[in-house]
Amino acid sequence: MDELEEIKITFFQECDELLGDLESGLLSIDAGATDPELINAVFRAVHSIKGGAGAFGLEALVRYAHVFETLLDNVRGGKTDLRSELVKALLRAADVLADHVAAAKQGGEGDAVSTAAMVEELEAWISGGPVPTAPAEEVNIEPNEDGIVFTPIKLSIPEVDEGPKEQAWTITFQPMDELYSKANEAGLLIREIERLGKIEVELLDDALPTFDSLDPETAHFAWKVRLRTEVPEERIREVFEFVEGHCSTTIVREAPAPTATEPAAGPDIAAIIAAAQAGDAQAAANSAPSEEATAIAPEPPAASLPAAAVPALAESMSSRGAPPPAPEKGNQATIRVDPERIDKLIDLVGELVINQAMLAQRVSGHGFAASSDVGRGLDELEQLTRDIQDSVMAIRAQPVKSVFQRMPRLVREIAGQTGKQVRLVTEGEGTEVDKTVIERISEPITHMLRNAIDHGLETPEERIEAGKPAEGTVRLAALHRGGRIVIEVGDDGKGINRPRVRQLAIDRGLISADAQLTDEEVDNLIFLPGFSTAAKISDISGRGVGMDVVRKSVQGLGGRISISSKPGLGSMFTLSLPLTLAVLDGMVIDVAGQTLVVPLTAIVESLRPTPTEVKKVGAQGGVLAVRDAYVPLVDIGRVLGFQTVDTNPAEGVVLLVDSEVGGRAALVADSIHGQRQVVIKSLESNYQQVPGIAAATILGDGRVALILDVDALVAMRRRELPRADEPFIEAAE
């Protein structure tokens, strides 16, 4: 791969992050946040995408991003009011931008039709909404309660800024160490400024220490540039855009000397100019990340300033107090690491865990007591190994935010297609889960959201009729519970129409007409293959991809999915997944001479039944009396084909498990070895899926042991013993 390609890949990675920032920023604004830094961040995201795209010659992307950026800049400069309709338009514009980026990644260009429509809309906003400039006389420059003079920039325009006219600016900037460490340099900036007009540069070397205390890696100089130019202030600011946060900058317009071209400036005008300068200094202080900014801001030339204006300026500057901390993103020291390296590390730690177990087994085989030096040393090693494992897994842990971020757009699109009004509420975006899980939860979540909006929520008319707000709410939440991650997708819609679901299941021969089902069982019928409750198969969730597919993919991850529903109030899907697909806590058991691992999460309890608790049912079936209930017995060895005769449960051990498909079951094994954390090894990577087996692991003795897929195992047994009244036979597959 050539170097440019590599940089391009990095660019697209950054684009994804920037698009995420863009969308989350807009969403916060939409939700009512008013922090000016938010709109700045949104602007920066689009600007950076445009800049990068320009470097790679992605013309279409640049053209579109430019329009978008212009509008955002207007918003930033207060020229366009940030109304709620505008935010909605900006969100759609962000979607189109994401499409453009995605298209550019594939080497193409974004859809021309949607782009043209969006550009038109954006341009309408750009030209439609400049705030009418107020005549200077009516200007109110009273400081607000914080003593900050408001809206000064707008005021000065009509008097001073009639068309391009040469003006004098004083630009002071002091680079910080970061500026140099990011491979920028002051000379380049000065050269950029020079392009704008005539400049005089003055070096400010006051901060230069004596030679013996000089740190060559530290920035000591500042520069003062006097610029005479016709370009507007924004152009000057643009020069510093890419060093924002790494340089304290002030840009101050000098009061024009009263010349022949200028009418004699009355005191009013002078006050306005002073206010404008105060505003400029203010803006500069805002964007400057540290206190030096205010400190080195030059005194505006006092000569033309009426004395009264000076205190106001001084006040406005000192009232700023400590400037806001630099945007957090710039300070976040992160490194990009090839995921393969981390995977390798995780594999190696897995090996270490296996090796440690192997060592422990051998040591105890040689008769060392746990209290001996060797035994204690091994304990410490085990602890350490676990710590390393946890730390390594933490490297790969990522907040679910990256998945959740994509959902608002999806919701907007589905809402648009279905004509429903939807508000998406997300919770627990910071919940961390292993990258391997992250990559694979996006699809089930997408399906669940589609389902919630398409089937769950009512149309606005129906909602109003039912006495609900027209806008439906879909809640997407992530949380940790019992060593698993739980994802909930809930809606406040109509809930599952149980009689209809039941009738459909009967019509399709999935259950018999006289089957007695609990409400919960009826709800779960929607997970049956090919089940679709929408009377007309809709474009959104009826593409033949039903909830059965979702369930299957969730089960493939070692997860569970269930639904609960209250008629008229809504439904909630609950998805429970392991935090990682790399390790698992398991119970090691013996079955017909084979060692197997049962995931601990599936086990409710283990017990040794007495012969009287075991009851025969029919020729082959059996149940176990557990307290007041009868639980079907499942002989692991026979279901897997390791033996042809059932183990007598009274001579072996029984594991009570909760299976997703058939409720509680009693798995019969020969004996239990104990609990162990095992490293999950895929069978599919070199072979293929094996029924009843979730994965494999390597035990302390170096041999491969298979990890049981409890749900599949129970399902297999059910297939073996079909019963007429069993509604979940199909679902179990």
């Binding site: 069978l683 990577s685 072979y687 899926q689 009843g692 390597i698």
Partner: protein, 155 residues
């Protein structure tokens, strides 16, 4: 498949030959990752008879296939002398249980003859061609055809 079926003429190929079910077979040496002794495999439930199970290959789970049984010959009786030839098939690794490794053959492509119709589907399916060396006949195995069709059995 990374294995060239039509190598440039006159380009010599090297093959590893071995005994399985009393007959001599070979595979392209480039597909052989390693050769190791037999160690007991963990049986896989609900799998074809010729799949002897899985073993631990330095942390990876390696499926072991009895080549003789795959070719419809009598099953191999694993002994201390039995050998597992680890071959790469696409992205996957699979271990072939054979009786013994015999030779490394260096041949011209024109020494390979297409498999005649031998009336045994299994053999015909898995044998790429026949190689004659002196009075020996060695069959080249098409390793990529050995693994069972990828099917989602648990679905």
């Amino acid at each position: 498949m990374h294995q060239p079926t039509n190598p440039v003429a006159n380009e010599r190929r090297e093959l590893t030959s071995f005994w399985a079910g009393g007959q001599e077979y070979c595979v392209d040496i480039m597909s052989v990752r390693e050769i190791r002794g037999w160690s007991a495999a963990t049986p896989l439930p609900q799998s074809p008879q010729y799949m002897r199970g899985v073993i631990n290959l330095r942390g990876a789970v390696l499926p072991i296939m009895d080549l003789a049984e795959r070719l419809d010959l009598p099953p191999t009786q694993p002994s201390e002398r039995s050998v597992i030839i680890v071959v790469q098939v696409g992205e996957r690794l699979v271990g072939l249980l054979v009786d013994a490794v015999s030779d490394i053959l260096s041949i011209n492509p024109d020494q390979i003859q297409p498999t005649p119709d031998v009336g045994c589907d299994q053999a015909k399916a898995f044998i790429r061609g026949l190689i004659t060396i002196d009075d020996r006949m060695v069959s080249e195995i098409a390793v990529e055809r050995l693994l069972p069709e990828v099917e989602v059995l648990a679905a």
